[in-house]
Symmetry: D2
Subunit: 420 residues, 4 copies
């Protein structure tokens, strides 16, 4: 059987083997669509190398899940065959529900559903993927859905796939570091895999793994500040949101007609619910078509914002003084307005609540991911990691409260500086 | 001045510095368009990591040109200030005339002009780039055009930018190796740069550089066979060509209407010449929009071919016996036809003349690029490199004449095997 | 002049250029001796790859000093020519006073002088190095000595060469990471160099360099725990100390005669002060000769300890309970004695005071190295880094108080575990 | 069992696992001695990073053997358990019989036996290694000896361990490239391992492996010219030989007394055969002790040559004209003599027969290693590789006939240039 498996060359992990029974999953239209969804959205405007798609990351996540499962087998901590297969497949499919620029314009383009919900639909509905899953094993679609929903039946598998230290993060930190060309995201993968252990239902880091775990968490901390929350990146994300906001406003007011909307995107402007098929039609190419189209629209705001995006002309970031009054806010708006800009579109807000990120204990989204457990070097007991590691404690409780806006040009920026 | 320069983080070369006077060139719509043109076309269907665009390669090429110019200054082999500036800018812009999937569908999408010709137009016509160039120096557009056309006035600069061993290749071999994750394209960049020298108008490799040069040429040889001419990659390229060929046929016969063609691509189906503005509208996103659209077209051939591309369902390669008769060819077509396929679209030909590639002495296209000169270790004379190196001589005169077709499925493939 | 410089190939930094005037310094017997002094002593018993000598590190340190000086020149923060030359030379020579296994057996083999003092003597006395320095510039020996002694005349140069963030550490962290094969010591060198700045006499990290500096400090923190203070490494260091302690005791008691001491090491057993010439005779080869010789000595303790070292038979580490009484200590000794071992030689102590290491604020030795200054991102003022960075604050004030001993075998170890 | 295995961190291969039954072999004095034998002798005088010992290479060779064996098991090409164990152990021990600077001064320090013969003695005689082998399996010493002697009983294992493409070379090319910091020795290890196959007794490269094999052979070709046969390296090797030649002459003439010879080396100057125990006493430290001692000897030739070695003062290379007469040779000697040098010691000859190296088909020593077999992509038959690959054919039949000598200084060198 191994003879018919296929090896993919991956720049991060070397050869990635895909077993013959799983191979058909990859050659579905739903999975191939991942090639047209970039992993890091607008980040490539700041780190030009970061143009990779979700396709490679999905392979890499599966590969790491399999590496751990394999090592556990050698060490007598086996997953059941069913758990292993379901885990491998879920790792492969965990991002299948994403849309283009997910985290940025999801309000518009994922039709208000979280990508995890779309994933569950994709594996469950009548898709090519669902068909492939059924062929591998009759219950596989339900099992994948259960894992996606953190059903306790697959607790160990879920911990590996979705926790503070999961194969998803393990892959993307290395991958994003590789493509951005930063060394920030690097950590000692081999040692970490060696030290991930389980005790019945609990997944934890065994003795001797503390520094590898610290390094992993810190690599995430650096990646957040240097890559994911890079000031210029955030500015372009906010700009994108304004473009869509403006388009919706124009649409609502009847100033955006069908001809101004790329056909695949029209359903997203309507009232009816988006069907799965409609959702899966959309990828980065629709998105860019749309922005290029709007760059020539007659509305001066829409076209100006779209052109700024296409020509990579960032707004200027301006950091608010720590204590500011309502009056101050009004004067800020006044400055922008004085220069002929509509403040609703030409002040990009990046409020604290967006930036607030708790590198370790809390996710950007609401749900709390399971924390990292570690075997204490001295007493051998399993503890939450910030109880054992001072540096992690330091960043776990840490918040950077920066209130930042972006304004359209240097003149505005310099006038704001003079306010007080 | 250096204080206002900007550093780009590049995964291949580390920090790439862009001086303040050149920076505006980057933020033009024509240059930003390079972000939406992939460097390696369909290659990512075989090497999933290779999703990088021409943007990073353009920066890298400029960087290497500047490294050499800088080293030459330290060694007293200075370029004039004018040569250096014109060379840096041309390195940056050398790929600006490309279209999506250039080498594959250029017959259709570059409107029968070579990308170098479009480049000359872009720097010369009233574009944002032309305006930026004039601001840097009044004669710069003309100088760049001269270099692109190999005008003897800029002989040394041209040699560095376009020869068998130029900064273009030096960058893309390393870059493509990095993104594909193969080690094939690697060579000793530092040593090569150290050994590139000039003697008045002649650029050559100085003593002690032979092995670095050999390694460079061999890295290209491996890259060709393992990456650029990978059998599966070639198959998908041929498939793409068939899709466009089918679309044109349908159009000619009146079966493809305006609504079936993405608006930006309509001019490419018409009779009139493509304007520069029309040409620059098109990038990968238009291309994918089009293919996705055709996947739902009523013509069964067009939609089938497009779906095969989107779902990554490769044709099967079949290598012809060395001597085959006309009769044999007919029987091949018969087999395909017997299985209900139209042989005009379901036999993808990859003829010798396509594959024929002379890794060193000859380019894929007509023009012959200047050969590599090297200082003989023993007598100190400057010679053409294959006169000095046996391994290079071995591959310089070497041709692999493989006659290969691709057929739509395994059944056809196996039947062909039984022919004789 | 640059034409006669020499390029060394270095695995960490690529080509390292040594200017022609400095080259003769390298080809002195004092500098070549660095090839026979390993950088990490017994570490290769734990990380087999770490067999590198102080020679490469000296080149690398010089290279980093020159990179910073060069970048400062480009940015208008120039060092004077005199400062630059003296700095480059001091960087090259900063470890010249080391002896074999310096940090481990310095009590015995550096004759109670710190290696920095020997360095000052080597540049000042009538050595080949002194002669070379005078040829470069008449005052150079005195200038190097001043820098070594932190004379305020060379404050900026001293800060670059010897502070919490100096070119010495910058090189060895990367180098030791490379040779051990760990990723722990890696940090973003390019960015750090880009951000090191000066303001008159103060060296600091400019805006945008915080994370690179944090990463640098953390890489040191990991390197300490994973490499430099690795439990097994520490055990072998303690074993070495016991070997020398035993030899001195035997010598004092008249049981070690001249024939038992390698000729170059005899002066170290005598009463008279060690001359510079005698000191420079000794390198790793004398050291190994001696240990191999003692492995066959008639004293059972000396020969046993030496053989354990040569065969790599580590003692077993045993961690003391947090609160232990004097009585407890006596019982520990009793256990060892009961098994026929002399507790003076078969209990290797690794007391808290040895391990206590303050990764950032304090050096292992007494002298405090200048702290790291950083430009605050928000108010632009220069501050001590732990005032700005929570994670650094967390480890700066942090102490791991582990009281550890090593005992000769598993039986002893297991009996100790049963004590309470 | 796997729980008690030990992981070594290796900079080339990551973690190397050593099973618990094999572990004791490593902690013998004979194996630990490999830490004190450098892999590349004087090469570090040219590539300062290349200070690694034979210890890491031995682990790496074992690791690669095990990787192949493991992959074969997954693919159903299993070795027997006995073959696998014997192969792993032989891979680990294959260099155990080396002495210091083996290839350079073997005439003196290996007592005229090849290192392979010493290896057979070490596994067969009453050594710690022999004892460990017997504990693992009663017949293991004999099996290792058989493999070392290419006994047909272990044909497949022998092919993997000692052929033109064996795990020994596979490891040292990567390792030497890593430590020298050159990229010359790199090739695509993962692909090569994937493609090594067996068909009963024949080991060959399967379809799709041609370029990886070519790249492997070329990496060896580059390594030879850039590293192993580097002109300066060769000069120092010849210098070392002259030092030992001079010492033997002085000894024969009664001018070198016992006190001038390091005690462990005395047997090598006597008449009687060297015992295994005497042989195993010697490592790099004895060698350096000896050279340092001779640097102070009263014989001006011996001390001068030794000092040149210690201070890294290379002779100047001089390439002979292609056709030279006997008379020419005499005049060369005359030049050297005129400058007060004894031509017997101050002309270092590096004759063609030394340099002659056939990168692929022939080894430096007499024995011919089995050639590389490859599956033809087109007809599927197994062929010798140069029949299939033009570039390999080009270098397989290729000889560089350079006649080179080294002379003591630039003045001599320049005078020789004027001869004709």
């Amino acid at each position: 059987m191994s003879g018919e498996s296929k090896l993919f060359r991956d720049p991060i992990h070397g050869f990635i083997e895909v077993e013959s029974d799983i191979l058909p999953l990859l050659n579905t239209k739903e999975f191939q669509r991942l090639r047209r969804l970039t992993q890091l959205g607008v980040t490539s405007l700041v780190y030009p190398g970061a143009e990779h798609s979700r396709f490679g990351h999905s392979l890499g996540t599966m590969h790491l899940f399999r590496r751990i499962a394999k090592r556990w087998r050698e060490k007598g901590m086996d997953l059941t065959e069913e758990e292993e297969k379901a885990g491998i497949v879920t790792a492969l499919l965990h991002d299948i529900g994403h849309g283009p620029f997910s985290h940025v314009v999801e309000k518009f383009l994922t039709a208000k559903k979280k990508h995890e919900k779309w994933t569950v639909e994709i594996v469950s509905d009548s898709t090519e993927i669902n068909k492939c899953l059924r062929t591998i094993s009759q219950n596989l679609p339900e099992q994948v859905a259960k894992i996606m929903k953190h059903d306790p039946e697959f607790k160990v598998v879920s911990s590996l796939l979705s926790s503070q230290l999961d194969v998803d993060r393990m892959d993307y930190l290395l991958r994003d570091a590789y493509y951005t060309g930063t060394s920030y995201g690097k950590y000692d993968l081999d040692r970490l895999i060696e030290k991930i252990a389980r005790n019945k239902d609990r997944v934890f880091i065994a003795r001797g793994g503390l520094h590898a775990a610290e390094q992993f968490i810190f690599s995430r901390y650096y990646a957040y500040w240097q890559v994911y929350f890079h000031q210029t990146t955030r500015g372009f994300e906010k700009l994108l949101q304004k473009i869509w906001q403006r388009a919706y406003e124009l649409f609502t007011e009847g100033h955006l007609s069908d001809i101004d909307i790329v056909s695949s995107l029209r359903p997203f402007f309507g009232e009816s619910e988006i069907s799965l098929e409609q959702y899966l039609q959309v990828d980065n190419s629709d998105f860019y078509q749309q922005i290029k189209h709007w760059a020539n629209h007659s509305d001066p705001i829409l076209s100006d914002l779209a052109q700024r995006f296409l020509k990579r002309q960032p707004f200027k970031a301006f950091i608010f003084p720590k204590d500011f009054s309502l009056d101050y806010l009004n004067r800020v708006q006044q400055v922008i307005e004085n220069h002929g800009y509509d403040p609703r579109y030409y002040i990009l807000e990046d409020t604290t609540s967006d930036v607030a990120y708790d590198y370790y204990t809390r996710e950007e989204d609401d749900e709390q991911k399971p924390e990292i457990l570690i075997e204490d070097e001295q007493d051998g007991r399993i503890k939450e990691i910030s109880k054992v590691s001072d540096p992690i404690k330091a960043i776990a409780s840490h918040r950077r409260a920066v209130m930042r806006i972006y304004v359209p040009d240097k003149i505005c920026h310099d006038e704001l500086k003079k306010l007080n």
